[in-house]
Symmetry: C2
Subunit: 411 residues, 2 copies
């Protein structure tokens, strides 16, 4: 009799029909013998609507009050879900984050969990009930309502699964699992039955939108097995677990990301401290710099390129201009038409040929590489945006990702 924490995102509980379908699923799980604890997000676009309402009322929007406002969305979804379960003869009780025992710091809008004391949730499970917990919320050490930020319901689910000693944490969403690449781009894209935490983290960091990175990091550090799956087909999805080195695929997935622009600061003096001054300035301007590449020096000057999110380009330009003279630089060029294409695979650590195959694949497809950066289990290349689709398709085919790992030929 497994204990399973099931988290349902906004699209999974977008309206009365969806809520009833989720309730039907819970009934099926219980018939199979599982004990179920639910975590739900706000319905559909409700969080956006609450923020729009706040915008219409206030300019200052204090964090304490925004958290009180926004957490109401999850609370509403919880209560409705519990009612739908009651109709099906399942005794269910909704719980706010505070009632569920989520104690947080006082950093409103983006609170961190300090401790989870799920006493009431345990009692409900022991009494045969289904607890339905509002996601992304808790109570601060100042006794105020706090919000964990967008995507925080995944974090609630993972933390609760750990605190309850649950057997697994199921993250239900509107996609059937984690794919070898974006199936809208590459029809042969394959749903992976398993992936390691590290691989998923590299994927979420390079453009794969779900689940929230913070919750994957938490699941990895707490050792909570995740199951990313569909709330529409109800079919099994992708298990995310600690990597088994014996079974690690060389390459798991190809991702691409067009959310960033490339900025190049040219003619920078090649002397100690220049790069530090540049990136300290960008950090001070709250710019999230991602890839950084510095060219080799010629005649005492060099170029530094980096990527930043599109909507931070103006901020970044202003910041660079302000320190331009002290860097000795001659200019800043912004290029918005780029894409980052990444190969992710826990097995690439021990397979040095991967990068070469990637670059050869690009060369064969006539795709020019503008920047390269690597981690232990990822290689990312910046290419022209209009070549991203070709790049992803070519890599997916070259590494035979349409096949299960055990069926692939060694490259």
């Amino acid at each position: 009799m497994a204990l399973v924490v099931q988290k349902f995102g906004g699209t999974s509980v977008a309206g009365p029909d969806r809520i009833r379908e989720v309730a039907d699923h819970v009934v099926r799980c219980r018939k199979r013998g599982d004990r179920v604890v639910l975590v739900v997000s706000a319905m559909g676009k409700e969080t956006d609507e609450l923020i729009r309402l706040a915008d219409a009322v206030s300019e200052t929007k204090p964090g304490r009050e925004m958290d009180m406002l926004i957490t109401g969305g999850e609370r509403k979804a919880c209560a409705l879900m519990s009612m739908a379960l009651a109709d099906r003869g399942v005794e269910a009780h909704s719980f706010t984050g505070s009632q569920a025992g989520f104690l947080t710091d006082t950093a409103h809008r983006n609170a961190k969990i300090l401790e989870v004391k799920p006493q009431r949730i345990k009692e409900a499970v022991d009494a045969g009930r289904v607890p339905v917990v509002g996601g992304s919320q808790g109570v601060s050490t100042d006794h105020d309502v706090t919000f964990f930020g967008r995507g925080g319901s995944d974090t609630t689910a993972v933390a609760l699964a750990h605190a309850l000693g649950a057997d697994s944490c199921e993250l239900y969403t509107d996609v059937p699992g984690v794919f070898t690449t974006d199936p809208r781009l590459v029809p042969e894209a394959r749903r992976m039955s398993t992936i390691s935490f590290d691989e998923l983290l590299e994927m979420t960091a390079t453009g794969c939108p779900k689940p929230a990175m913070r919750s994957v990091e938490l699941a990895r550090s707490l050792g909570v097995p995740l199951h990313v799956r569909s709330a529409f087909t109800w079919a099994p999805g992708t298990w995310v677990t600690q990597e088994d080195p014996m079974e690690a695929a060389i390459i798991s997935a190809v991702t691409h990301d067009t959310s960033e622009a490339k900025m190049t600061v040219s003619g920078v003096s090649d002397r100690p401290g220049v790069a530090a001054a540049l990136f300290r300035t960008l950090a001070g301007a709250d710019v999230n710099v991602d890839m950084i590449v510095q060219n080799v020096s010629e005649a005492g000057v060099t170029d530094i390129s980096f990527t930043v999110p599109h909507d931070q380009v103006d901020r970044a330009s202003a910041a660079v201009d302000a320190v331009s003279e002290s860097l000795g630089s001659v200019g800043v060029i912004t290029d918005s038409d780029i894409a980052r294409v990444s190969l992710v695979g826990a097995g690439m650590k021990t397979n040095p040929g991967v990068a070469a195959t990637m670059f050869e694949t690009f060369a064969d497809s006539g795709i020019n590489i503008e920047m390269i950066s690597t981690s232990a289990i990822r290689i990312s290349c910046v290419v022209r945006e209009d070549q991203a689709e070709n790049a992803v398709t070519a890599l997916h085919r070259a590494f035979q990702l349409e096949k299960a790992p055990e069926d692939r030929e060694l490259i």
Copy 2:
């Protein structure tokens, strides 16, 4: 430096514009030197919308979950109000019923306050803040969220005003105060500057819609002075206080109510226990019987007439039919086209001529009286519904209610 609890109903906070106007008013009150505590209802029709959503999801709608759902409406309004105040340089903190210290019983949907411990509200006031409390809600002895029922925000305001030792409790609404009669019916209707709790209770019991009767009863028993006033003109309204016998007007107001039907059970045996059997049966069927009149007996049988709300007529008929034989009755007649017209006045206790003047006024206007019932400070007559407007206008003129009490001629 007065401490004032100000309660704003749904229409007063119906949208962003209204919320900003209320915030402006609070700023004016603070400039005048008052310390202010706010209680707010859910915005506009939000409570109805939440109930519709619950109806779309569930048939059983357990009380615990309905309360969790519905109290979200007040909570949302609180948070938005606090944000609007922050924009005006006023530090404001929203509080749920639980945070504000409202401990209740476990009767969901209609919880009763057991105790108010407004420690956090006191601290906020002492710190110069404006606390904004969600109306109609608390936390039960089982640690669950509870709702006081529709109109419960008035109760929250009164109970909080008492617990804080506030100087007064202002109930802001969409009308400018309490009138001598319905101004839509009688253009000369006059806003009263004061009225006694007892009079207001008789008025709310006979068709005057605001404020909620339960809150007036509570204010009377706790001795909290109420001020019913407009959130649209911001002009002074009507004070509701303990009656000063020296200054009591003979008649304060005329009200009318068309929400009830008259039922007559005819041919009832005139023997002990028959009326008891009839009304015990109606109570068992959850019928709210209001006026009751029994005619004199003729030949061992009598008629019993009573009024019930229109929407309970079917239930009442079925209940009476079930015991009809044991009563010896020959039939039940329902008459929906009636109105109850009432005169209310604390001074009528010591002025025995009031009833006579009322009946003479009706006779002069050709209005037939079908039923009469009285309390110490009220006389109600049932008349034809299409004569109600004439009846109200005639009484308002006969008792000179368009004039302030001190300007009236003695009748």
